[in-house]
Point group: C2
Chain length 499, copies 2
C-alpha cells in the first residue's frame, strides 16, 4: 500500500487536532454552596410571585446566573448542615447515610440536646469517612475523589464540615481534594472580619485557617475565600486540566456580622441592625458569585464550566439572632433552618450549563441535594463504578434537555429525616421528624407523639392546612405513610429510643 501526500497530511492534521481537543475535553464544574440561605433570601423569585423578601435583598448575580441557566423551584436540602454536605458528596439520602444532624468539631461528641423522653439516637455523629471502620461514620467514596481519579483538579474552599476532627473525613485532602483552603471540621466562623483575623489566633476553634494574608486587613471572609479560590484556578486553567471547585461559603451562618461594603444600604432601607447585617451578608455572597462568573468570562472558559448554586438548608428563622416574629423569615414558607417544614428544607438551586442551551429556564421537578452527586458525575462523563455506597440521588441533566415533563421524576418520593434534637423546643417542625414529598403532597411524621401532618403544597405552600383527616386523601396518605416507614426501615434509619 502507498499513501499519497494529501492523505498523509490529513492524517497528521487529525492527529494534531484530536490532541488539542484532548487537552481539555472535560467540562469544569463549580459548586457554589451557601450556608443557611433561605429560599427567599434573594432578589430572584423562586416562587411564582415576587415576595417582600425578594424586594429587600439584592442578588443581581443570582439573577444573572438564573438567566444563563435553570432555576429549580422545588429544590431541597436537609434541615441542617452536615447531612446536606454528606449527601452532596456521597449521593446518599440522609436516611441512608445516618449523618442526620450537624457534626461536632471534635469527634465522639454527638450534638443532640438532652431530652426527657428520648435517648440520643444512634447516628453517624462523626460524619462521613473515606476510610472504612471509623466509628460512627458512614464509609463512602467521595465525589471529589471520583473526580480526582478521573483527572480533575479538585478544589475545596471555605466551609467543609463533612466530619469531626480526629477522623479522615474532616480532612478535605483525604476526601479527594487536591487543594483545600480553610476547610475544617467547623461549621461556622469565629469572625467574618479580616481585622479580627477571622477569629484565628484565639481559643475559639472556629477561627478560620489558611487566610493569614488577610489578617488585620479590612476584608470580609466571603471576599477572602473568593480571592483564594480564584487563585487556585491558575494551575488547572494554564495547564488545561479540568477542574472541580467546591466553594462553600461560611456565610450566611451566624454570627450575623455585616459586610461593611453593603451594610449601610440596608440600614437606610429601614431594616433593624441584625436584618441589615443579614442582608449585607447575602449581597456579599452574591458578589462572590459574580466575581467567579466574571473570572470565567475573563478566562474565556464560561462555556466550558458548569455552575451549581445551592444552599445547605433553609434560612435561619430563630430570634435572636433574627429580628421580629420567630420563624417568619422564609415566608410564605413555614419555619426555617432545622425544621421539617418547607422553610427548613426548600432551598434556592440554580444550575448553569456549558453551552447556554438551558438558558432562563425554570424547572419545577422536585430535586434533592443528593442529586448533585450523579448529576455532577454526568457532567464530568464519569461512571461511578465499584463504590461502597448506594446512590439515592438521580442525575438531573437528562430531563432538562427534553421539553417534556418527566412524570417519573415529578412523582419520585423525596425523604427527609432528622431523628435528632436539634434545638431546645419542638416548635414549628423542629426535632424528631421525618417527611416525605410525593408529587404535590407532603407527609410529616412527628416521632415525639407519633402524629402525622399532611399538606398539598400546590395549594398550601405555607403548610397551614393540615389535611391528615381529609377522607378523600386517605389512600394517598396511607401510601405515603407506608413508603416513608418502609424506606426508613429498609435503610435502617436512626430512630430515637424512649428513655
Amino acid at each position: 500500500m502507498r499513501i499519497n501526500t494529501t492523505y498523509f497530511l490529513f492524517i497528521l492534521f487529525i492527529l494534531f487536532h484530536s490532541n488539542i481537543a484532548q487537552a481539555q475535553k472535560k467540562a469544569n464544574i463549580i459548586v457554589f454552596m451557601v450556608d443557611d440561605m433561605g429560599w427567599q433570601d434573594t432578589s430572584y423569585p423562586f416562587d411564582t410571585v415576587k415576595s417582600a423578601f425578594n424586594s429587600r435583598y439584592h442578588t443581581p448575580n443570582m439573577e444573572r446566573l438564573a438567566k444563563e441557566g435553570v432555576a429549580f423551584t422545588n429544590a431541597y436540602s436537609t434541615p441542617v448542615c452536615t447531612p446536606s454536605r454528606v449527601s452532596l458528596i456521597t449521593g446518599m439520602n440522609a436516611s441512608r447515610h445516618h449523618v442526620t444532624n450537624w457534626t461536632s468539631p471534635m469527634k465522639d461528641q454527638p450534638t443532640g440536646r438532652d431530652d426527657q423522653q428520648f435517648e440520643e439516637p444512634v447516628w453517624n455523629h462523626n460524619g462521613m469517612s473515606p476510610v472504612e471502620g471509623i466509628p460512627h461514620t458512614v464509609f463512602a467514596k467521595a465525589l471529589p475523589q471520583l473526580l480526582k481519579d478521573n483527572g480533575y483538579f479538585t478544589i475545596h474552599a471555605g466551609k467543609a464540615h463533612w466530619a469531626s476532627a480526629g477522623t479522615p473525613g474532616s480532612n478535605p485532602y483525604s476526601l479527594g481534594f487536591v487543594v483545600n483552603i480553610a476547610g475544617t471540621s467547623t461549621g461556622r466562623p469565629a469572625h467574618y472580619w479580616g481585622e479580627q483575623n477571622f477569629g484565628r489566633n484565639t481559643n475559639d476553634y472556629h477561627g478560620i485557617e489558611n487566610l493569614q494574608e488577610y489578617f488585620k486587613q479590612d476584608i470580609n471572609l466571603t471576599e477572602a475565600l473568593t480571592r483564594e479560590a480564584l487563585k487556585t484556578l491558575d494551575f488547572p486553567i494554564n495547564n488545561k486540566i479540568p477542574f472541580f471547585l467546591n466553594i462553600g461559603h461560611y456565610a450566611l451562618h451566624d454570627p450575623l456580622m455585616e459586610d461593611k461594603r453593603f451594610y449601610q444600604k440596608y440600614l437606610d432601607q429601614g431594616l433593624p441592625a441584625n436584618e441589615a447585617k443579614y442582608a449585607s451578608m447575602i449581597e456579599s455572597m452574591d458578589k462572590s458569585l459574580g466575581d467567579i462568573m466574571d473570572y470565567l468570562e475573563k478566562k474565556k472558559i464560561k462555556d466550558q464550566t458548569y455552575i451549581l448554586f445551592i444552599s445547605d438548608n433553609g434560612g435561619l428563622s430563630h430570634t435572636p439572632p433574627r429580628v421580629g416574629t420567630p420563624h417568619t423569615h422564609n415566608k410564605p414558607l413555614r419555619s426555617g433552618k432545622g425544621s421539617i417544614y418547607e422553610g427548613g428544607i426548600r432551598v434556592p438551586f440554580i444550575m448553569k450549563g456549558v453551552k447556554g442551551d438551558l438558558m432562563s429556564k425554570r424547572d419545577h421537578t422536585p430535586v434533592i441535594i443528593e442529586d448533585l452527586f450523579p448529576t455532577i458525575l454526568a457532567m464530568a462523563k464519569i461512571t461511578a463504578k465499584e463504590i461502597p455506597q448506594y446512590v439515592d440521588g438521580q442525575n438531573q441533566l437528562g430531563h432538562l434537555k427534553s421539553n417534556k415533563i418527566d412524570k417519573s421524576a415529578m412523582d419520585r418520593p423525596l425523604i427527609f429525616h432528622i431523628p435528632n434534637k436539634w434545638t431546645t423546643n419542638d416548635v414549628d417542625g423542629f426535632n424528631y421528624r421525618s417527611g416525605i414529598r410525593l408529587g404535590k403532597y407532603k407527609l410529616i411524621w412527628n416521632m415525639r407523639d407519633e402524629s402525622y401532618e399532611f399538606y398539598d403544597l400546590s395549594q398550601d405552600l405555607g403548610e397551614q392546612n393540615n389535611l391528615i383527616q381529609d377522607e378523600k386523601l386517605l389512600t394517598i396518605i396511607s401510601v405515603m405513610k407506608t413508603e416513608l416507614h418502609n424506606t426508613l426501615e429498609a435503610r435502617n434509619a436512626p430512630i430515637p429510643k424512649r428513655k
Copy 2:
C-alpha cells in the same frame, strides 16, 4: 510525492512516542528542609572524622541519601530561620534581601531585642513579598512561582515563615504554591503531638493548621506532615505532571518534645531528658526522609526526582533548653543557632541527583543557601527571565559533573550578615555581626565594638585561634575586610544606628 506504509507507520510511532515522552520530561524536585538542625545532628559525618554526636544520633536515611548523592561538607545557611528561607526562594543573599532576622507572626513587629547602644536597624521585618510596595518587605519572584509558571505542580508542606501575617508573603498560595499544607507565618509549633491537636484550638497562634485529621491521635507532627505531603503527590504523579515539593519540617525547633517512637532508646543511652527528646526529634525527621525516599521507589520515580536536604541554620546551643555546657552542642563547631560562628551557619546539605551519577560523592565547595534557587531552576531547566531581584546564588549542578575542582567556586566570597539583636547577650558570636568566608579563611566583624576576628578554617574549624593580629595574614585580612564592607555598602545592607 508518495509515502510508503512503513515510513508512514514510523512517523506515527515517532509522533506517539514523542507525545509519551513529553508527558513528563521534567524532573521532580524535593527540598527537604529541617529546622534548627546542626551540622553534627546526624549519624552521617560531614566532618572528616566521626564525632561523639555522630555516634549519638541515628539518621540512617541521611546516610542512605548521602550514599545516593552528594554530601556538601562546607554548606551554609544564615544564622537564623527566615533569612535562610527567603534566600532559598529568592536566590538573594541576606545582605541584599534585608530580611536579616526572623519575622514576627504578625506584621509590623520587628523582632530585635531592646539594646542600650543600638536602635533597631531598618530591615525587612515583614519578610518577603510577591507583590510590590508592601512596607518592610523585599519584593521578589519566588522560586515556586517560577516553577509553577513552567508547569510544575508546586507543594509546600510544613513550616513556611517567609513573611508576617497580614502580608501576601505569609501565604504560600501567593508565593506560587499550588498546594499548601500547614504553612503559615509562624516559625515554631505550639505542640508536636496529635494528642494535643498540635496546639490548635488554643490561643497560641503557633497552633498548626490543616491537620485536624490527626487531632486526639497518637501521632507526631513530623509524621503527620509527611503523610499529608505524600498525599499531595498523587495528583501530579497520576497525571504525569512534574512536581516540586518543599517540605519544611517544624522539627527540630523548640519546644523540645519527644517523638515517643524513638525517645526511650536515647534515655537508655543515658542522655538527659531534653537531649533524649532532641535526639528522638532528629530520628523522627530522618524517618520522614526515609518514608519519602521509599515512596519515590514504590512509585518508580526515584530516578526522576532530585532531593535537596538542608537545614535553615545551625543547631540550638542555648541552655536551657539544651542540657550541659552552653554552646557546645555543635562541637567541634563553635556556638550554635543565631551565631556568626560556624555552629550557627554551617549546615548539613545533601543533594541526590536524578540518575545516580553523583553517588556517594563528598563535595568541599563552599556553598550557601541562596545557591538552591539557581540550582533548582537548573534542575527544572528553567531560565529565570525578567525577575525583579538580583540573584546572588550560584548554580551548583555544573561543577559536580566535573571531576576537577572548580577554583572560582572554591574562592567565591560568602557573606553572612545579622545586624540584629537576636538574643539577650552578645556571647559567642550572637548579635550585630557580619562575616565573610573566602577560601579557607573567615573574617568576622562585630558591629558592637567595631572589632574583627580572623580564622583559618582549614586548621581551626572551631574558631578558637583568632589570627587578626597575624602579620603574615595582613594582606588577606585587608582584602576580606574591603570585600565585606564594599559588599554590604553596595547592597545597602542594614546596619544598626547608635542611640
